[in-house]
Symmetry: C2
Subunit: 553 residues, 2 copies
Amino acid sequence: MPHWTALVAEKKQRQLKSIPQEWLVTLPPDSTLDVTGFPETCGLLNAREIEITNTSVDILLEKLACGEWTAVDVTTAFSKRAIVAHQLVNCLTEIFVDRALARAAELDDHLKKTGKVVGPLHGLPISLKDQLCIKGLETTMGYVSWIGQYAEKNAVLVDILLECGAVPLVRTNIPQTLMWGETFNNVFGRTTNPHNRSLTSSGSSGGEGALIALKGSPLGVGSDIGGSIRGPSAFCGIYGLRPSYGRVPYCGARNSLEGQDSILSVFGPMTDSVGGIKVFMKAVVEAKPWLKDPLAVRKKWNEDEYNLTDHGSGKDLCFAIMWDDGVVVPHPPIRRSLKMTKAALQKAGHKVVDWKPIKHRLLGEVTRDIWNAASAEDFMITTSVTGEPIIATMELDDVVASSLPQKSGGITAYQLWQVQKLRQNIRKEYLDHWEATASETGTGRPVDAIICPAAPYAATPHGKNCYGYYTMVWNALDYPAAIFPVTTVDPILDGKELTHDFYDEIDKKVYEMYDPEKFKNAPVGLQLVGRTLEEEAVIRMTEIVDAALAAAK
Amino acid sequence: MPHWTALVAEKKQRQLKSIPQEWLVTLPPDSTLDVTGFPETCGLLNAREIEITNTSVDILLEKLACGEWTAVDVTTAFSKRAIVAHQLVNCLTEIFVDRALARAAELDDHLKKTGKVVGPLHGLPISLKDQLCIKGLETTMGYVSWIGQYAEKNAVLVDILLECGAVPLVRTNIPQTLMWGETFNNVFGRTTNPHNRSLTSSGSSGGEGALIALKGSPLGVGSDIGGSIRGPSAFCGIYGLRPSYGRVPYCGARNSLEGQDSILSVFGPMTDSVGGIKVFMKAVVEAKPWLKDPLAVRKKWNEDEYNLTDHGSGKDLCFAIMWDDGVVVPHPPIRRSLKMTKAALQKAGHKVVDWKPIKHRLLGEVTRDIWNAASAEDFMITTSVTGEPIIATMELDDVVASSLPQKSGGITAYQLWQVQKLRQNIRKEYLDHWEATASETGTGRPVDAIICPAAPYAATPHGKNCYGYYTMVWNALDYPAAIFPVTTVDPILDGKELTHDFYDEIDKKVYEMYDPEKFKNAPVGLQLVGRTLEEEAVIRMTEIVDAALAAAK
């Protein structure tokens, strides 16, 4: 077998060839940090293509359904912009423009011949995280060892998206193992943040986050076991939803930590409007994924729940803001965004109370212990095939040098059961804690949703995204959580504050990391968190918050 | 600490004292095998009490709601009959007649004062498997080590049943560890089968099965991780439902193998009519258990699904009969009951095809491997507190002699993940296999439900219930399954057949076990199996099968 670096070189060569050569553009210098404007000025896209790629999902679908824009036109426009995005921030893995255009042409034919759309996503280009197998394509997931493994069939979600009329557009970059909050691997390298390329796009769905922020795709599918949809959505300034376990089918996709049945990774949408999230979730759930994926929950899309029948029909909602999780104090721009959201919601006539977090540190530790019960063995066995190094840190300088596996040596099944038992007990405590807020809201109901940071910071410099509990706790509790953008870091408004009494070392480290100039222009997104399997209500409430923020501007 | 036998003696003494002494009756000799008629002839119950205890759940609820029968009358009648049942087959653990009667009196007061019932189960006595904690009572679960542990709060399901107006009546016997198909432990001893006391009532909800068969309770709650509701229901000639994971709340109950997140134990109803199953499931689901139990699925009771909207409105159903699982060939009475059911369904105008089982042996093995990943350690740690022996077999003669723990030594978390991964792959294969039957049914749909044995035999002699895959596979697949009674073993109709080509040793052992005279009068129940989270449809289809069998008689 060739050395792993030779395998990478060959794969990268093939990736380069998969890019239409006439779409290679003259790039801005590396010192240009904010590249969000570049796709529209680089000259590759014409005015109509710029218009198409600047259009939100619901309008795109309308224009596609009535034939005003063809699927080929739309796919071409997004393909071009995706390729430009890739040249700017290195966000793609598999590129298959011909296949996407052929699919789009079929859809156009169908519409012409029958006058009908294939399904609710007719003609919509969709980008996919590099886990979602497409027949005939490789899914390396950033592992050198998986180069050359071509899928024999589609992941269930890919089949459903095809049934719905979508056009799989490109696949997007991830970190090795998927278990990092940044996007870097030995095969495809690092994805950067288009708002400031010295910052991370987060991870593990960081390729999606960066691509959608550059409007190289109107909608993408990410996955989330600890924040991997929400981190990139928040850091890249877009919308994203982490659904509950089993609401979106996972079957047939590749993954790490396979067989870990306790804290499940889930797929969910990432897009530039909350409307896009609804379109995706409704289409997927109405396709009855439980007939194709044994873990998909038999729960139909419920328009009553979307209309907030369980939340007083949405008339006088009570949101709870969690300012701080009791472990790490958020940076100034995060706190400013929480204040902005509170003011906007109050202006819109809603109640806002404070959320008192309980046991977030323990929940975070338990989550990590469950993952690490056998993660080191999982990573070692996968990488040992080619001897590629296991990445031990996302820092720039010491990545490839380190070939040490993670230190955790794994535990026994009995030890794992004890951690899982502890987690179930905390889930019960948290549920009771939430229910008990009914006495404080004045609505007769418990708090309708929690609003909280997605991280204690906006997008960090590469290698510095070190604290994940703001998202991980909701995975452990299986609460659906949506990300909505609020603002961007402004060094004038978000000056560094005086030191505080640190909760502990990690709090201190995060405090010291903040430098308003370094974080400049980084988007700030927040989370809206609901109850398990309440995706419909979470989407509706996110629309309400989003509208309140827009109205308050 | 006293020797464990002293702890047992003290507990048994307290149990005896908890029985109203005037309800102790003169028992038939041990040689009387069928004791089902005894409660009505023993003289303790008057004619009205006999009438009450012979009434099915839906009629009981009507008479309770209109005040024709008071809750105290109904509770008294069932309490008496439960105590008689206990003297016959040793089916109870905790006995709390005073508490039940006090609760019943409160309900009567409420109805008198308000004219309204407390909830949909107003006044209904309900027996509970010895896992369902009730504040102030012990829950030993048959472990000597748990004697003296008094619950500080109710299990969530107990709270919900109380809200619904039920009257917790008694708690019922189980095997040590819950992981056996018979009912025997070091504290309370063995529960026998009321239809033939030389036979087992099955397990682990064998106390419930025996009690309900003797009409000592109109409805009971069992639990099922591998057949523990369905075995006792089938062996004792009653109805039972194993719901999907999370449809009925489990939180706050005691259990073995805690923290095992993969193949979950579930609670479900056991009763003497399929109507009783519907009443229970509807009441529990409508109480929104997901607001009290973080693992309870947010899925409302769906009357459309009950009316079989996903099954052509029930007009031309297609059932598939699994005659044999490819591992162990069922005994003659089981095959006769399948033939009776097929004929009855065809007579009622439904289609019946054959079910081709796939990978049942592997599914059974995987299920066992997941349980045994840490079961030995779990049992050892629990029993080591008092040194009570771990029961190594349910045979009569060598139980207490054996103090060896199970031989399985436990595996690592990584090994467990690999078994769990294999199981998920088989779940997908099985789902696809079921969906593919759409080409054979002629209804345009896949098979609507599978009908199959609950075991390869009717109730066996004690110590002989050795093969569980007929139920275990549906736990591994998380398919809901209901038990309905069909017939009883008749030595003339069910003569021993000539030997067949054995699948393997266990098949041979089961074949050799059959002796029509030994199994005489044992009830035969079958399973109706549906799709995950399709409880409503499974209940309706069981009603249809039940009615077809009644009409064919």
